[in-house]
């Protein structure tokens, strides 16, 4: 693993991050939006892990952070999906474009 350094990981995570952002902004389906958020969170996780591994290996701050982020991602996803389902029940649509009752 000599020639794979921090930089490589950061490329991966950054790309993942922006792919997530792109997805969040373009996917009209609420669930896919949620999936994009998960991608972003994972990008952050990779960052934490990679930094921890390559730069600050004496402590496990990054690792723990990742663990907690995963937990939070789960909670967030759960609540979001509950809300989406509720919305779906009310509206029969999970298209984000349709959720614009409130504007102006």
């Amino acid at each position: 693993m000599s020639d794979i350094g921090l930089g490589h990981f950061l490329i991966v995570s950054t790309m993942l991050f922006f792919i997530g952002i792109y997805g969040f902004m373009t996917r009209r389906n609420m669930i896919t939006m949620l999936m994009s958020v998960e991608l972003i969170l994972n990008a952050c996780n990779i960052n934490f892990i990679a930094f921890n591994k390559f730069l600050f290996p004496n402590q496990l701050d990054g690792v723990f952070f990742t663990l907690f982020v995963i937990a939070i991602a789960a909670a967030e996803a759960a609540v979001a999906i509950a809300i989406i389902i509720n919305l779906y029940r009310n509206r029969k649509s999970i298209d984000a474009e349709d959720a614009d009752m409130m504007r102006l």
Partner: protein, 653 residues
Amino acid sequence: MSDSLALLLVPALPLAAFLLIFLVGRVYFPKFSGILGTVIMLATTVISMATAYKYFFVTGKVDGVYQHLIAFKFTWLPFSENVSIDMGAIMDPISMVMICVVTFISLMVHIYSLGYMKGEDRFAIYYSYLGLFTFSMLGLVLSTNIFQIYIFWELVGVSSFLLIGYYFDKPSAVAASKKAFIVTRFADAGFLIGILVLSYYTGTLDFETMIARLTVPGSELTAITTAGFLGVSALTWGLMLVFMGGAGKSAMFPLHIWLPDAMEGPTPVSALIHAATMVVAGVYLVARLFPIFAISCPVGLDVVAYIGVFSSMFAAIIACTQTDIKRVLAYSTMSQIGYMMFALGVAGYGGENGLGFTASFFHLFTHAMFKALLFLGAGAVIHYVHSNDMRDMGGLRKHMPVTHIAFLIACLAIAGVPGFAGFFSKEEILTAAHNSNPIIYWCAIATAALTAFYMFRLYFNIFWNKEYHAHHSDSHHGDDHHHGEAPWSMKAPLIILALLSIATGYIPFGNFVSSDGQALHSEFHLTSAILPVSLAIGAIIVAMLFYRKKNAVPDKIAGTIKGVYTGALHKFYIDELYLFVTKKLIFGIGGTIAAWFDKNVVDGVVNFSATVGENFSDTLKKMQNGKVQSYAMYFFTGVLGFVLLFVFLWDKF
């Protein structure tokens, strides 16, 4: 009675009459108000006469010179340490003459009005206004302070406004009163600026001090003569502006336009205000500042002279063509005041040079008598005929003999026929003019002839000419006195004034009033009187030929000088010119522009900013389209913007 108390009472009594009648009398004893006012006025007259007598014959003269005494004086409005408006009463020959004239004429008018105004709805109000006017006029003539004179000047203006507008439901009366007030107000603005100029350089508003500082060489005089604007010295500016105020009140050309219209007021009012008292305020003002004019600013005096003589002639010409008898009298008033003005203008300070000054006041005095008489007589006529127009009259001599005689006396007096008061005063003026300025002299002579002509035109038209038939259906008029001549309350003043119109001419006026306080013994030169007298008599004869019997000669003559005639008939279109300049140019365009600017620019900016704000708000509102992804987009763009700005561009700032 001490002088100070007396001179306090002189203006205070009419004021009290005003307040009493206006606040109480109007409601509780409207009928009695007239008597009340007259009694108070009588008291005032007596007091002022007594005071004047005391001044002229007992206390006033020290070493052969009439002194300027200050009866009382207190600070009314302090501006700074030295400059303050004082209220006080001055005693000197001219003020004493003036209080006598004012109170006396006022008394006459009060008495006359008892008959003339009887039965009017607002009888009490009328008397209260008379009281107010008399108060203001007395305050004016007694002023010790140039600002005090301004204050009463304004008050006189407003009481004149009230009296002219007495018949307030008549639109023409309202218009006339407005006109009078506004025109004189315009002149007063000049007066005010003049006061500011003078007071700035002299550091005082007090007449005595101001005159002293501006006649004796000193730092103030140097400062005011060297400082200038547009090449004219500050002194001249100041005096001319003050004179502008005087010209406004005294109806000098070109500020005369209000006077003829002011005849919309009740006729006694015209007699009081527009003949005998208020209109001579300008003369009085110039006389008051005469030492400054004469000693330090002869140029100013020249201006006064030329304006006076021009106005005099100008008015006389117009008077020849008017048919409204009150207007004829109004123009004659203007003409006579022009006489007084130029008499002042040709005078110098002290000794023989001061003849014009004396003459001017002499004429003022006599003119007050016969002009009041003329107006009151005209009032009696109008009262009888119910018309102002001389074409509705004729042959009234049989119907109203007393009035006829009184009127004739007045006409003779004003025409300068020897033996009558006007002759003496006019002769003195002409002498003074002759001594100093031939142009003015010849103009004055011509005016004298014109005066005689138009007065007798008036006289003949009223009392001779065609026969008068009381053809009005008067049955519905409740007036029981209509078919007879005026009641005694009206006749008595006529008789008194007629006598005085003869008698006053014999007063040795130079003994009392002169430019420097020393007695001036003017000699009467028969030779110089020949020309004017013969001209006057000639003019009277012409008038008699024209108007004694109804004939076509006047019209023919008018036809031959058509241009001049129509011009004069339309008062040389001065009114129209004014109307155009003020209504159309200044107020029309100026007001329209101001209103437009206010509505569209000033208000427009405010409303525009509101509109811009709302539009901006609408635009922003569209940002909010309710779609969460576009919110994310804005969010992310915001982040990127910040990144771009702070990571990449910041260092380069």
